[in-house]
Symmetry: C2
Subunit: 228 residues, 2 copies
């Protein structure tokens, strides 16, 4: 993992940076550096704090999530001139995916604060707000994909109920929801009958306190205890 200077031509390959003027570009160029990673080397883990934006120069990088049981879901493969970690920049400051070199690769690394700085000064407030909105949508969708691939139906239902209850009433523990089994099935990617089966189980465990025709009542705390 050695460093070389002269990163400006690589920065130019990014659509969003290509429109910068020469002097603006060299401002980030000075902070950026190229690192090389061997096949199977990890660039970062999903829980690491975000410190760099990456541009693939040569090679291929795999972005993936890891389940509790060690299973893996590849989110995207990146080839030359693709970049990543722009989205977490406007979220919680964690990478939120892991990255591994699929072959020996060279990568331009831009300190995330310099990248963010350039975006901040070049983009108006309204643009930044649109960007933030899109980033949280990206986060939302990658959690959805992760859940669909790693969790079983019961866990997905528990997750969906937790979120619904939290959205409806952040301050109360006992929350009534007016949602049909069919709706929950659609949110969790399953069918009505399986939801019915699972809800019965949760009712026996007193996680669902009460249920009638057009809704039911959950205990948020008990729900979150069941969340793996």
């Amino acid at each position: 993992m050695k460093s070389i200077p002269e990163t400006i031509p690589d920065l130019r390959t990014l659509p969003c940076l290509s429109v910068l003027k020469e002097d603006e570009l060299s401002l980030i160029g000075e902070q950026a550096h190229v690192s090389t990673f061997l096949k199977n080397e990890i660039l970062f883990r999903e829980t690491d704090p975000l410190t760099f934006i990456f541009i693939v120069k040569t090679g291929r990088i795999k972005l993936f999530k890891t389940s509790h049981e060690g299973r893996e879901l590849t989110i995207k493969l990146l080839g030359p001139h693709e970049y990543f970690c722009c989205a977490p920049l406007y979220l919680d400051g964690k990478y939120s995916v892991s990255a591994m070199a699929m072959e020996d690769s060279a990568v331009v690394m831009i300190p995330s604060k310099d990248f963010k700085e350039i975006i901040s000064v070049s983009v108006s407030e309204i643009g930044l707000r649109v960007i933030r909105g899109l980033c949280s949508k990206i986060k939302y969708l990658s959690v959805l994909a992760e859940n669909l691939s790693f969790k079983d139906v019961e866990q997905r239902i528990i997750f969906a109920l937790s979120r619904l209850a939290e959205e409806k009433s952040p301050d109360n523990n006992i929350v009534s929801l007016a949602v049909s089994h069919q709706d929950i099935a659609s949110m969790t990617g399953t069918v009505r009958e399986v939801v019915s089966r699972t809800m019965m189980k949760l009712k026996k465990e007193k996680v669902i306190v009460d249920s009638s025709a057009r809704g039911f009542t959950v205990d948020k705390e008990k729900l979150s205890r069941l969340l793996k």
Copy 2:
């Protein structure tokens, strides 16, 4: 479905529009109108051409995708002051999700070309490029989620192989890929053994022309014929 004027206070509730000056805002305000939808009424279908950006005023709107077999995956529920269809604006011009009112709802509808116009003039070229990049990521992730929920492993593998082959070599029909079964498993959210099973089947059907230790060769055209 009746119309009322005076939409400016509703537009203000959107973070990205709230920073606009009074006169800029009234420019879109004049074009926007409020429509009401009854419970279960469809606002639009995923294949419809994008014509409006929506802001929920009251009620709840469900965004969802529909599978070939008629199953449904809810992508997101939207409550008051949430908006949607910003992402397709910078993509293929289709809604890409369907929307249904979950209860009687009032919705502010902004003609998409007016919304896009405002964004275009208020956001610099660099901002727009970042936005376009994020939008295609959103598209990518929603296809991933859709595949995970609707398609069986065989279809997901066929899809992944098609995409890999297309990325590697858009112009040739017969393409060699240097990807392990484990990698494919990770891309499709399954395990190695199941990939092996499926690849054997595809080999018998002459869709996979050749395979050796570190890769295999696919027939793109035959692959896409199998894609449902």
